[in-house]
Symmetry: C2
Subunit: 94 residues, 2 copies
Amino acid sequence: MIGDRIRELREGENILLRQLAAQLDMDTALLSKMERGDRQFRKEEILELAKIFHQSEKELLTLWLADRILKSTEGEAYISEALNLALTTYQQSL
Amino acid sequence: MIGDRIRELREGENILLRQLAAQLDMDTALLSKMERGDRQFRKEEILELAKIFHQSEKELLTLWLADRILKSTEGEAYISEALNLALTTYQQSL
DNA sequence: ATTGACTTGACAAATTTTGACTAAAATAAA
DNA sequence: TTTATTTTAGTCAAAATTTGTCAAGTCAAT
């Protein structure tokens, strides 16, 4: 999800994986995994990517956090119910 | 949240922390932390607790998963947005 | 002051996540 | 097809996180 978006942005600007990896100071193989969702981005990387691609931090961070949320539910039952409950619980806590 | 519910159920049946801990084959201190939300239950423990207290697995697992979801978002920005996005993304994936 | 129930903090053990590296696979260019 | 480049997959150890245990702590009731 965030990985797809990053790939989309990268390809939209015709930047190679290894070039973007260099900008982020990371191994190309690792960035490849991150774009494909095998590994998670770190928040700092998302912020850096927002700068590089002139996207709002909010958009990218939201995608990134949604990914992490879904990852934390992988393989479980009652995911919709739990997400709904988490949402209302969170909103009430504000 | 799930911890509160377990404590409620336990106290409702006048079971001591150490007694329930014994039934779950765990240290009393650990169960104490779990009820208070310091530590997370494992899924097998939730299933066992559903049996012990004659509650539906769905109810307890949903509470448990919602807890884990919220924990995975702790300290982040755009939590509501991400939860909503995670929810719609998940539902579309079905 | 002693007992019983529960809580807390510190530490060690276990598990999971992570990044670097290597090589294989896919893709593109010649 | 060969060669070069880009991407993906697999492995391994280090780092980080989670988990379990124990001892000491609080608090309330006796």
